[in-house]
Symmetry: C2
Subunit: 705 residues, 2 copies
């Protein structure tokens, strides 16, 4: 469908500070209304409603600038334009093969009368909410400027229930808390769980995407889209008035951003619906991002992989090769003169075992962490030259292992832990990507553990945000796909750069081994973290009791085994790991079958059930067949689903294989009790399925031919 | 001569905090004595004397560390070794073709009894002074550490006269002040002249190299050698006790350095002599640096060059191509759609004119600044992506001009202004150097104008220091010579990386056009700035009244024309510019002859006269002939030299051409009055020469064959 742009009106408006007649715009379906006006001080403000219910009460907009008059008042409207846009575009990969981008736009051109500085506000109103951004045209009156703070308000209409994690300049790896907005302050200190590098900033500061539910059943989500060369936005709550205000991540000097005109901010997004499923189904964030910037995307392929990883996370093995070295100088170290510690996992024998397993079971790739020198002191040392991304340990045959993998139809997945030493990574990046090209790698898992170097910068500041995108763009030049961990939370940039096939930016499965994860975690993530793009959640742990993997590890999963299968459907990603050890999968080969079969790219997705904090059930149709896959994740109370399979093609017959919790299963002691049942189904079938406490289920529905 | 190392003694000493018997070491000629001891608190301390006169009174040593016990006391000596070293090495280029490195060393191994941390002090005693550094062996007790401050004291024995510039984290482009140490505080505010980016830190803080003279005629110089991956040291004066203490440049968080063992600090240097000429003749700083790290140096060639530069500095022309653009986005700008401003100097026609002039007069290279896009807003905007170092303006034919130059036996010199945006430079560096290789450039003038990006870092902090060396090492891989302006002051690293053929790091000739330079300036620089390595001072201004170059520029030089010639000898550099415009040289072709003839690489140098702040007269023998060149620079009072030419080979006859100030010349109104005289000379000749007020002279002495 061609894009359709219609200018509906263009009006020069009164140039006074007295409140101007509001500019209105509504969504294509008429349910969402956006209203822009100036206050009597000439301050830009806006409101959002849904079916006439207030979503955002009058909220002001503006900026504090460094050494310059604030952009907060004395504005006049010099122009206003309304347009409509409607197109359908095809993502390289995704939850569906076609995405509708349909919105009504309001562009308000403003001038600050005291300074003649121009600032525009662009609003796009979708059926599922509103996006807006600030735009600064090129002008002599405003060239280079430094943001002291962005003052975008989001005034809530009530004391909503929120699923939140603490606002933090450096990490999102927190467990979610469910509470009223008014309770955030009292719950903050217990929510700020210790992390390797963390910088919480306010007792009422929370991160986006923030999911909320109103007392009368509206679901509201605040986030941002297209975060490019700008600081990541947090939300700081005035809990007396229930008004969120944007709080940008500062740089080393406390400044929040260096910009020059012409430029614009990322989009600030307000999603709203009376049905939680619509939040999951919305593509508002992707739609607000720019179209694909890569001319050739044929090399971008969704990936299902296993990896030499969980055994380090669970404590059984090590990334490091030796325990001899208190410090490592990469230019001088000679590992052949050190004693191997005997626990180094990334060795030839083990990697071959993983390659064999991947080949046998049809996985695309094998991630190997700890292959390169320097892991003895990579952690928590603020070490500048921490890795070279080039030199393997003596027991890792870079050439031989890649050749072996390729001979079996498998690729190795590269691993670049940067220890957040950004300059060091950039210095080695070109050669590191070239090495990947030379040996036949096409994807890299990168990591940013620890505090940022240059010191004083934060993971979510403009400096680091700029770096992450640089790494993605440079990778694209080498036809490399990127899965970045500990980077800034995604904001839909994978539309523009679809080689960004994954991120972490939340508490992933690793925390099941390291600390704790609340059972409701995966019923929230699709509403929050996943709004910005796919997460490398690394599900698929079938040995739910980690004592069996490593006797020194006393953790058990917050999840049943069946739920681990369901996550492959509920946690959408074009990059999915089967995270457990081969030997563990070999104990559960019948359940493993689902992990082997489930696709990672989809024609269509149907959101069957959704309630944040409680359950999510999603059905997805394989991109390349008529088969469907259903997944459910449930919280600590479990959930009973009554599913109508009316999403199936009418008239077709299918065979369903249902991987479910056994009747006596629960995550706290009987997590591995599951049943596998086959039955014939069609579009008229109704299924009643029960997820155990902390449980879930997975269904494969194969068309009968 | 082979190196000769003799272990003279090796003694484990008493492990108590009571003052241990001092460890002594003396210079090869016995004049300089160094004494190390522990105070009764177990604090390391040292003293230096010259012919039994105190140079450094008892001064303590140590470190404050972040979140760790200070390394200041409770030390015991666990070992002490004395050795002697003597070798002669050949620099790739220099003031002489062979350098003697002869010292007696004292290595004191210390352990802090409370923490078992080990720290060594290594002292090297030369005939012209002492170098010492801290060394930290690899050890479990001390791995990664953060320096809060280095506490190296330099206790002066009197209220010496000093030639100083303000201590500053970002610039050394200050005029010198001559005063007693006790007067520094009262003179500081007037000494801190405004600069584009400056961060003075203390009312008694000064920079190294600091030159001093005692009341009884000792010349003392404090500096450092081999500054690598460490913050640049300033000196902060306790002016009650006349004790200098090291003050390191902080990072964005205020920390002074991130190190891990094994490691060592740069050398702290104390030069001393009763004859100022010995300070100029000393190679102590070079000798304390590591030998050449490059296996092939055949591509490193001293360079005499002209450049499209002075006409921008003097205000006649511009770096920028257009005046249309308030801001420039390098990815989007289209210069063909802008109006040329008509003053852009780096255009094809002008550059060809410079190439022709260079070819005609035998210059090696032509620097062209302003050739690449982005100069419209390069300055003072903290702009991250400020230059791409790749894309020429529309009126600069990169390929054609290089071909034209090469056809005439001339090279173009590349220019990389970074605007101190370090990440941006590093991101483009490989391709920028590759472009130089592709077009046949072999040298680059780089610049670091403005405050450092990443913001919060300083020009002289560990981060930036690391960058400058990175740029030099990466350049060496491309066989590129580097002349870095506004980088950290040099510390002899050109011995190890002789492709570092120049630096600015002081107030150069450009200030003659921009602000002021005191007439005594060039009588001080060889004692201070030049101790660390050559300076691209850009002498050779023959149109001393800038009104004649640009009617809007009202500056006149602090120098006569004859002195401008003398600087080619007194300001040693393997890279020398003839900075004035071709049309100005064409007005003074007879004087220009000296600039054309004077070599830039030497067999031998003889320091005939030297008094800091007053005059310097040096004779140098061409590296490739038997010809000699003599230069003099004098202060605002002028100077009369009575020179014995006994440095000439006995029995040989020479013809001297003497370029001198005319009898009525002076820098304040008759700067261009000079005489050129030829006479026969030999080793028995005595010459009486008079430098005018702000004047100087130059002599070419050619062997008669």
């Amino acid at each position: 469908m061609k894009q359709l742009v219609i200018a509906l009106s263009m009006a020069a408006l009164p140039s006074i500070f007295a409140p101007v007649r509001a500019q209105e715009q509504t969504s294509p379906d008429g349910k969402v209304s956006l209203s822009f006006s100036l206050t009597k001080e000439g301050t830009p403000s806006y409101k959002v409603s849904y079916n006439n219910k207030p979503v955002i009460k009058e909220s002001t907009l503006g900026f504090l600038l460094k050494k310059s008059e604030p952009l907060t008042k004395q504005f006049k409207v010099i122009d206003a334009q309304k347009t409509t846009f409607k197109e359908t575009w095809k993502p390289v990969w995704g939850e569906e093969s076609q995405i509708l981008n349909h919105y009504n736009e309001l562009l308000v051109a403003l001038e600050q009368t005291s300074t003649h500085r121009k600032m525009n506000l662009r609003f796009r109103v979708y059926n599922e909410g509103v996006g807006f951004r600030y735009e600064f045209p090129q002008q002599k009156e405003l060239t280079y400027f430094v943001i002291e703070e962005e003052l975008s308000q989001f005034a809530m209409a009530g004391d909503h229930t929120a699923w939140w994690i603490p606002g933090d300049y450096d990490t999102q790896e927190y467990d979610y808390t469910q509470s009223k907005l008014s309770q955030i302050r009292s719950l903050m200190s217990q929510a700020v769980i210790k992390n390797v590098c963390q910088t919480p900033f306010s007792p009422t500061g929370v991160q986006t995407a923030l999911m909320m539910k109103t007392q009368d059943g509206l679901y509201i989500n605040l986030h941002e889209a297209a975060l490019v060369n700008y600081a990541c936005m947090h939300l700081d709550l005035d809990d007396k008035n229930l008004v969120f205000q944007s709080h940008l991540t500062p740089d080393a000097k406390g400044d929040k951003g260096h910009l020059y005109t012409p430029c614009h901010t990322p989009w600030r997004t307000i999603m709203v619906s009376d049905d939680a499923r619509n939040i999951l189904a919305s593509r508002l964030i992707l739609n607000l991002n720019e179209p694909c910037a890569l001319s050739d995307t044929s090399w971008i392929k969704p990936v299902k992989y296993i990896g030499v990883w969980w055994e380090m996370i669970s404590g059984k093995s090590s990334w490091a090769y030796t325990n001899d070295l208190p410090t490592v100088d990469l230019d001088k170290v000679d590992y052949t003169k050190t004693r191997p510690n005997g626990t180094h996992a990334a060795n030839n024998q083990k990697v071959r075992r993983y390659i064999d397993f991947a080949a046998q079971h049809g996985f695309d790739q094998v991630l190997v962490e700890g292959w390169n020198i320097g892991w003895e002191d990579w952690f928590d040392n603020s070490k500048d030259y921490v890795f070279d991304f080039m030199t393997p340990y003596p027991d890792f045959d870079l050439k031989g292992l890649n050749e072996y993998a390729h001979s079996k139809g498998v690729k190795l997945m590269m691993h670049h832990e940067t220890s957040a030493s950004l300059r060091n990574y950039e210095r080695h990046m070109e050669k590191a990507y070239q090495l990947m090209n030379d040996y036949g790698y096409n994807s890299v898992k990168s990591g940013y553990v620890g505090c940022i170097i240059p010191r004083g910068e934060y993971h979510y500041g403009q400096w680091a945000v700029n770096h992450y995108l640089y790494a993605i763009k440079e990778a694209a030049k080498h036809k490399i796909m990127v899965n970045a961990h500990e980077a800034v939370r995604p904001t839909g940039l994978c539309r523009t750069y679809p080689n960004l096939i994954g991120n972490e930016s939340a508490r992933g499965t690793e925390y099941e081994a390291l600390e704790t994860v609340k059972p409701f975690h995966t019923t929230i993530l699709p509403f929050t973290r996943l709004q910005g793009g796919p997460m490398d959640y690394t599900p698929g742990i079938v040995e739910t009791n980690l004592v069996n993997t490593n006797p020194e590890n006393h953790h058990t999963l917050s999840s049943t085994l069946a739920k681990q299968l369901g996550l492959y459907v509920t946690m959408y990603s074009p990059l999915q790991m089967a995270a457990d050890l081969p030997e563990n999968y070999e104990k559960f080969l019948d359940a493993f079958e689902f992990i082997k079969k489930v696709p990672v790219d989809w024609q269509k997705s149907v959101y069957l059930e959704a309630e944040p904090g409680q359950y999510i059930t999603i059905a997805r149709k394989d991109k390349h067949s008529n088969n469907w896959y259903v997944g459910n994740t449930s919280n600590e109370n479990g959930h009973t689903s009554v599913l109508s399979l009316d999403f199936l093609d009418k008239g077709k017959e299918y065979e369903a294989t249902i991987y479910a919790d056994a009747p006596d299963a629960n995550y706290q002691g009987n997590a591995q009790a599951y049943t596998i049942k086959k039955q014939k189904v069609n579009a008229k079938t109704k299924l009643t399925l029960k997820a155990a406490r902390g449980g879930g289920y997975a269904i494969e529905i194969v068309e009968k031919k």
